[in-house]
């Protein structure tokens, strides 16, 4: 007896929920050769707006958690990714026409990057912060704090999963919340990652994943007054200079386009932090 196929409905991930696009639009996701794979939600500017509201609401809780706690939560995502290996490998093979070994290699690299960043959660402050020498009876301490809501255009060339992980993990480490526009033509692994996030300990709203056209959504995120940082990693094909100009209006931190996938680096973590400096009297010494 033939079984009825159960095709998966790919939706957005906003505020810990899986809504359809407010606009009701969808687009077809195909293999590189053009065979139909799935329908994904085509996010509109209003979905981006809702995602920013969700990210803002989640910020105080996520940034208020201890670095150690955030590290544990992020590490747990790596565990869950391991548990879903087959699904991710299948999706990467289908959307990017990869061989099984290439898909496996990308997944392994992505999990490794995730674990690497998770480890920094309770350590980056010691590296990026400082006790400053001052000529007076004071302690003078500089410490990095998360910026707020970071809007990200995920890498669009290749490596849909690794690219996504390489841009969201560094923003999350310090306690930022993110709104990310996934790989336009290969969004399936991003949506599966959102299912991982939804079943992990990451609070709803900390990561918000939009699928659709970066060219349509990015300008709204770049100009949004409640977004604190803009990562244009995958914006090479967009009018990214205009996006930077729009971001400058509200003094956002901006990272420019990257060829390929950004390599893991502490600089990417520190980029999404602001340094706060305090003076404290040495009264008890």
């Amino acid at each position: 007896m033939t079984r009825l196929t159960v095709p998966k409905t790919y939706k957005l991930y906003i505020g810990g929920k899986f809504p359809r696009s407010e606009s009701g639009r969808t687009y077809e996701v195909a293999t590189k050769k053009g065979a139909f794979l799935a329908n994904a939600a085509l996010a509109s500017r209003k979905d981006a707006r809702d995602a920013v509201v969700a990210a803002r609401a989640a910020f105080s809780g996520w940034s208020g958690a201890t670095g150690y706690n955030r590290g544990q939560v992020l590490y747990r995502i790596a565990e869950l990714l391991e548990g879903r290996r087959e699904q991710f490998i299948d999706e990467l093979m289908a959307t990017e026409s990869l061989s099984k070994s290439a898909a496996t290699a990308q997944l392994d690299t992505a999990i490794d990057a995730w674990v690497w960043y998770a480890g920094w959660a309770d350590k980056y402050v010691q590296v990026a912060g400082n006790g400053n020498p001052v000529s007076g009876p004071y302690f003078n301490l500089s410490t990095p704090e998360p910026s707020g809501v970071i809007a990200i255009v995920a890498p669009q060339d290749s490596s849909s999963l690794l690219g996504l992980v390489s841009v969201i993990a560094p923003a999350l480490v310090s306690g930022n919340t993110v709104v990310v526009v996934a790989h336009q033509n290969a969004p399936l692994s991003a949506i599966s990652l959102s299912e991982v996030l939804a079943t992990s300990d990451v609070p709803g709203g900390v990561v918000n994943i939009l699928t659709g056209s970066p060219a349509e959504i990015a300008p709204w995120l770049a100009s949004h007054a409640d977004v604190n940082g803009l990562d244009l990693a995958g914006a090479e094909q967009l009018e990214w200079v205009d996006l930077q100009i729009a971001a400058a209006d509200t003094l956002k931190r901006v990272l420019g386009p990257v060829v390929g996938v950004p390599a893991p680096s502490v600089e990417r973590i520190v980029q999404w932090t602001e340094t706060k400096t305090v003076w404290h009297t040495k009264s008890l010494i």
């Binding site: 707006r49 803002r56 709204w220 100009s223 949004h224 007054a225 409640d226 209006d249």
Partner: protein, 337 residues
């Protein structure tokens, strides 16, 4: 019960005209319980249908400005301080410091003891009994529960009026209403209305809070609305904001229908004020549509329709900024209340 029902009620003009000169608890009860029942399913469907209208561009800009003009900017916390009331008044005068074209709100709504601070802080923007400027509204009559004796409620009201309140938001005695003692509720509203009289013979506007979240049924809301109007209320208001559910669209629609019926019957215009739980511009626009479709656009002015709200104003301001600048605004660009 027969003894009680023989007691004559205070001769409120509207009730005497409608029910007759021999106004007693019994005749009032017969009238209120003779009102037709509410079709709950139809009411909710109608409210839901009115909430689906799409309001865009210039209509939206008009709607946002109208909402601001209709807001009773409210702070009703135990932790209210004169300083907080002053900052609220400053916001009422200039809601958006980055855009001087933003209209002023209709009123600030505070507890009775905060009225002098509100009036002083509003300064020349205070209407002080005139038709121009921002009113000061005070909640009175043992707000929010209404659980105290009538003399205390009257004192509460008189004090607020003497302090300069232009509007009094009174709560009805829900316990008496739910136990069927409509006469008690009626007499209290009449007495409070009389307490709203200023020395010069004019009256502070009286808003009667029904607290619909505690009335349980739509039939009760309809009865309470009629009761409040008959006893002399200038406005009927849904809720105190302290009880969930507060204002809902179906309840407001129902109250607007009573106001419409009263207008058809007597030609008099009664105001409606949904309060509590309206936080987004989108929700507020649904109320505007409901008002326009039920009683007419004529009601979309401050002496006939108000929003009781605190956080709504910030959302409206952010939406206005979005329309002006073309990009989304954020909470950093409005005041923290």
């Amino acid at each position: 019960m027969t003894i009680e029902s023989a007691i004559a009620l205070a001769p409120a003009e509207r009730a005497v005209n409608l029910i007759g000169a021999d106004l007693t608890e019994k005749s009032l009860k017969l009238h209120l319980e003779g009102l037709p029942g509410v079709d709950a399913v139809g009411l909710e469907q109608r409210a839901a249908a009115l909430g689906t209208r799409s309001i865009k561009t210039t209509s939206k800009a008009w709607a946002l400005d109208t909402i601001v003009k209709l807001i009773d900017l409210t702070t009703l916390e135990g932790a209210d301080t004169p300083g907080k009331v002053r900052s609220l008044a400053a916001k009422a005068v200039l809601p958006d410091a980055s855009d001087a074209s933003t209209p002023q709100v209709a009123a600030v709504c505070v507890y009775g003891d905060m009225v002098p601070y509100a009036a002083e802080a509003l300064g020349s923007s205070w209407s002080n009994g005139s038709d121009n400027g921002i009113n000061v509204a005070a909640v009175a009559t043992a707000f929010p529960s209404g659980r105290s004796s009538l003399p205390i409620k009257i004192m509460d009201t008189k004090e607020a009026v003497a302090n300069g309140a232009d509007e009094i938001d009174m709560v009805i005695d829900r316990g008496a209403f739910l136990s069927g003692k409509y006469g008690v509720v009626f007499d209290q509203i009449v007495a409070v209305k009389e307490a709203c009289r200023r020395e010069n013979g004019t009256y502070a506007h009286l808003k009667v809070i029904l607290e619909t979240g505690e009335l349980n049924t739509y039939d009760n809301v309809r009865r309470a609305s009629w009761l409040a109007i008959l006893a002399g209320g200038d406005f009927i208001k849904t809720s105190t904001g302290k009880v969930a559910p507060a204002a809902t669209l179906p309840v407001t629609l129902l109250m607007l229908e009573v106001v419409r019926d009263w207008h058809l019957l007597t030609g008099e215009k009664i105001g409606v004020k949904p309060a509590g739980g309206i936080r987004s511009s989108k929700d507020a626009i649904k109320y505007l549509v409901t008002v326009a479709e039920t009683v007419g656009e004529e009601w979309l002015q401050p002496h006939l329709f108000r929003f009781g709200a605190s956080s709504l104003l910030n959302d409206v301001l952010m939406q206005r900024q979005k329309l002006t600048t073309g990009h989304y605004s954020g909470p950093d660009y409005v005041t923290i209340d």
